[in-house]
Symmetry: C2
């Protein structure tokens, strides 16, 4: 009775086939500019190209790679293209890729310390490293009462801290008081907070979405917050959670952490900061100011998978009091009990997150930090910000466009000026321009709406982007704008 | 202004370094049996070996790989070792690894269809393939009102369906009725259900944990369930969710889906099936019987990352009514709006899961199905079950051991018979035996407790395990038992 038939994990088969895959991927990067950045396929395209059921017999890697080339790649939106300027970037890098490979190679499941001590310990250490690079307060480091943990996404990060805060509040006001708990954020806060509230059962009418406008460059007004809290206290509600953002998704607005921290402290609220995108920039001394006040927060999150060369997914979350997290998220079934955990000698990250299982994600962050080093990473960030400045200058020089918000990091919010000064027309015009440029396949940008205006977002941050790509992108925008305006002149 | 300094995503650097990494990983598999299966390091070992902070300047891959070999691998518990028999397996394979590489290589973030149509469409197609292999009912396929989705883990799968069920129930009984909602499961149900209930705010006293015992081989008694529901209805509570298991974590118990389905249907409860481990076996006609009754369920989950050669993470969830999921989990912020989603022409998997971002995980499952094919996968499963049968026979032949529960799949629950017929002694004895065998580093097994008895679990399922490994493991168990008994004879 031998392992008959195939050998699914033969080292030499792995070697041979994985070398082929390396070349396939390297060739992909060599040809990445030949693809439309935004996939141009129609909904349902793939079902027409792929059989209805799995094969009974094995197929060759050669055939599968042919299908990747011919059937999958046309349906891929190329996030790593140097001409990708949409949403926020999601960086790959040689180091991040190597770390992902190694993690997949070991394929351990690090839910408890015992299931691979190195996975837990490297994560603690590497998040301490990154915390120090960001000059986070001491209490966020694993040597104190807090610590860092890698979550999959910022959505999971805000959910776990919201749950910890919810349960802490319910222990205080009584477990039947869910309907009294109030969350504060702004209309610029990422939708993941709304989703976290839905999941945690926070009443939708208790989510205070503070309005922002251009007068604060779309950041939260501390006065509005104070007012809202007073009002809620007055009607017997219980303010318990504040989410601020450093670098909002729409326009990179930065909420004033120092002032918000004072307010949340005096109201004994959990104060969370979402710096998913802009956190990376704060490793540069000249951008660290945007984190001033982080000392007064309870939790802080940045996505190393956005603008920090670490392949998706790697969302770094630090908390001041890890016990609050563990109290909400731990389970202790018999089949997972072990000496190290029972003796309370170790951290078990399963109790810091939603899922039980977890990949060895710290490897890729560790490799990024070691293979590039702090100074290179700072240069990398600064280069993108310079490219964004350059784009901003191009927009500003063209009288038919305008830069809409003050640029802080590597995102430029701009638009084609409306016809006849009509905002409705302006919105349609920019919507059409977005559609036109993305349909060229030459670049991919995305949009938002600020104060009722439809705005185009140009987010620099793909690892391969150089000045020539920014210049070419601007030319695409100008050309498509001209074509649009020629159809319906100003 | 060029991309000065490093080139973080240079195709030729990727090629050169990734080839090195392939060889490192292939060499790891060649030498995997030379490591202790369970890491033998002490808590805190790594901090002594690694600097306090990230380097300022880049280091070489050579140095990093030396550290992986010298510092990380000693802290790894080798889940892919052929001598790994703990918990449940978590399979890697050449195909799964290649799929993970390709996904990391493309590094797209497929939250909405538009962000990479192929990622969404391949996932729909491949989960239809797998659904057909498992002979799941038509309504679980994406061509109807349901569909499949890849979650990270079974914990996330049960959480998302619990949330959908909770919100559906609250729409019926009123949003303030959370305290009335009751969940049913057994004392053998995975702890992830308890965690999901904590997250969703279900009252702990409303979680009915039905007792099981050896009389039903640790599966749920439909009579007990009916009784519990009647009682709850009688006191004005609202039964809304039933979780059954095909292949429990402790002992692979199989709950009777057909009878439970009838009960949940007549009470209009959401019926979820967790087949995280044993679902894989059900691709073999001779094991498909354990899914009889799945026609009456609302959701079904199996982990392709356990026993199906697909690298962690890949947990396949099918739902009958995808709209229930979407209703609970969707958000629609302006910055993610796009033509295809607005026109309702596509699925956006962000609304089927907790996180927003998601990896291109269907690639690895697709590659496993294509590079191995159905027949090989069936052989793979059967081979492990035969090896478990073989181990069971070895245990049964030895008068100082006993097989504790009826073996169904590839897990054998057994123990060293207690001294002097004292259960307390028996528990200590088996606890000590577990510790002793795991400390040898030669094998890794885990334990559970059933009806107060401490039981050893021998789970066959690592891709490299052959008969010789099972025989050697049995010898380690016999030797360590002899040593223990010599110290304290029967």
């Amino acid at each position: 009775m031998d392992n008959v038939g195939m050998k699914p994990m033969d080292a030499e088969q792995l070697r041979e086939n994985a070398h082929l895959m390396v070349d396939f991927i390297a060739d992909y990067y060599n040809s990445i500019e030949s693809f439309p950045v935004l996939s141009q396929v129609q909904p349902g395209y793939l079902r027409k190209l792929i059989p209805d059921s799995a094969p009974n017999h094995p197929e060759s890697l050669h055939n599968v790679l042919d299908d990747v080339q011919g059937k999958i790649l046309p349906g891929v939106t190329h996030w790593q293209s140097p001409n990708y300027f949409a949403y926020y970037p999601s960086n790959s890098s040689v180091a991040g890729f190597l770390g992902e490979m190694l993690s997949a190679g070991l394929n351990i499941v690090g839910f408890s310390w015992i299931t691979s001590p190195a996975a837990t310990e490297l994560e603690m250490i590497v998040l301490d490293w990154l915390g120090k690079m960001l000059k986070l307060p001491e209490h966020f480091l694993s040597t104190g009462q807090g610590g860092g943990v890698i979550q999959g996404t910022a959505s999971e990060a805000v959910l776990v801290v919201l749950l910890a805060a919810r349960d802490k509040a319910l222990r205080k006001v009584g477990k039947n008081a869910l309907e009294k708990l109030v969350v504060y954020a702004s209309d610029q806060t990422h939708a993941s907070l709304q989703k976290a509230c839905q999941i945690a059962g926070i009443y939708p009418e208790n989510c205070r979405i503070l309005k922002t406008d251009s007068s604060t460059n779309y950041s939260i007004s501390p006065d509005l917050l104070t007012e809202a809290i007073s009002h809620d206290l007055g009607i017997g509600l219980f303010p318990f959670f504040l989410c601020a953002t450093v670098g909002t998704t729409s326009s990179t607005a930065v909420d004033p952490l120092l002032e918000l921290g004072k307010i949340s402290k005096s109201n004994e609220m959990w104060f969370h900061v979402d710096a998913a995108y802009a956190g990376s920039a704060c490793i540069c001394p000249e951008y660290r100011q945007y984190l001033n006040g982080v000392e007064e927060t309870d939790s802080f999150n940045m996505n190393a998978h956005k603008w920090f060369l670490t392949n998706f997914d790697c969302s770094a979350l630090w908390v001041k009091d890890r016990h609050a997290l563990i109290q909400s998220l731990s389970t202790n079934p018999e089949y997972l009990k072990n000496k190290a955990s029972e003796a309370n000698m170790v951290m078990d990250y399963k109790d810091w997150q939603i899922p039980l299982g977890r990949r060895f994600r710290s490897l890729k962050l560790w490799m990024v930090l070691r293979l590039y080093g702090l100074e290179n990473l700072q240069c990398y960030i600064r280069n993108h910000i310079q490219l964004a400045e350059h784009f901003e200058a191009l927009v500003a020089q063209d009288p038919i466009f305008e830069v809409v918000t003050r640029r802080i990091f590597s995102l430029v919010c701009f638009r084609l000026l409306p016809h006849h000064n009509s905002e409705d027309d302006g919105n349609k015009l920019n919507h059409d321009l977005l559609d036109a440029v993305n349909t060229t396949g030459k670049i991919f940008i995305s949009h938002t709406v600020l104060s009722g205006k439809y705005i185009l977002r140009f987010a620099v941050g793909a690892p391969l982007t150089e000045e020539r790509h920014v210049n070419a992108a601007w030319k695409v925008l100008q050309d498509e704008a001209s074509t649009l305006l020629a159809r319906d002149p100003l």
